[in-house]
Amino acid sequence: MNIFFVLFFSKEYNIKLKINFTSLLSVIIISSLLGLLINYFNPKGIPFIKEERQLNWAEDSTTSYVTNEIKEDKDKNPSEVFDEAKAITLKQAYALYNRKVLFIDARDYIEYEIGHINNAVSLPYLDFDEYKTILDTIPKSMPIVAYCDGEDCDLSILLGDKLFESGYKEVYIFFGGWIDWQMADYPVEGEDE
């Protein structure tokens, strides 16, 4: 890498290599402006400053009636219709676990093998296409809880959003994840058991 810097940043070589920094900067500036302009008019364009994904937390009243039973749309209270995947606390997650709601592990399959929430199934977000066949067996109206390691990992949010986009109507994100679950000494399974 030193050679690179010596080559390009020593004055002597700049002359020898005949790099015209004006045209170099022009290319960068013009392309950037072009990008900004097109993004502005593009319907798929993104905001100039990225916004952090704000988690919307589920109310206790929403989670307290959730079971693993498949509800018909007509049985649903309109206030229960989700507009996005909702985050839940450890307490809410445990309550859903006790009502046999399906948990999906968004981490790598190896991490899942080592240990996971009891009865959870594996759907690694980063290999989504490879593992997504598992979703064929899960009806779209079934409530689902996505989780990953814990607060430092966002795979659960990404997977939760993806599941919601693919048509699951009731998706929860257990943000505390595997770390909080283990600390609370709740039921787990895996090789470490």
Binding site: F8, S31, L34
Partner: protein, 151 residues
């Protein structure tokens, strides 16, 4: 060795390869700006407020520099721009590998699903070598601005 590497047919081959790779990679990123923005964010190297600026501008720099390279316009300058980008990409991949991140590369948009790894590192290093040679020897064969002097 220098004589072999400065062969004008070899250099135009490098120009075409690097040019096409950057045009292709740029277009895929432009087609899914939100996906590319997430891909940059997954590297966890840039503050959140800068992520989208790069997601918007970088693919266009790739496409424009790639096109110019392909048509032989300011070959040295555009190879330089591409080299700088490749060095940054290589650093990002090395850091991510060091941190054990298993993330999507985002190199050719996000739909290709290729992961950050040694293969990506080798691909980028090969392209970087080609770009260095283009900066060093220039390539004016089949250039649409052939009035350039050849050093």
């Amino acid at each position: 060795m220098n004589k072999l590497l400065s062969n004008k047919y070899l250099l135009i081959l490098f120009r075409i390869i690097v040019g096409f790779v950057f045009i292709y990679a740029g277009i895929l990123k432009i087609s899914d700006p939100a996906g590319f923005s997430d891909a940059i964010n997954n590297y966890d190297l840039l503050p959140l407020s800068f992520v989208n600026f790069f997601a918007i501008t970088l693919p266009w720099i790739e496409v424009v520099a790639g096109l110019f390279l392909l048509f032989g316009i300011s070959v040295k300058e555009n190879s330089f721009i591409i080299s700088v980008m490749l060095v940054v990409f290589i650093f990002a991949i090395v850091i991510s590998l060091g941190r054990g991140l298993n993330i999507e590369c985002g190199c050719f948009g996000t739909s290709s699903g290729s992961k950050v790894g040694i293969i990506k590192l080798l691909e980028n290093s090969l392209l970087l070598t080609f770009s260095f040679l283009l900066i060093k020897f220039n390539s004016i064969l089949l250039s649409i601005t052939s009035h350039d002097d050849n050093s």
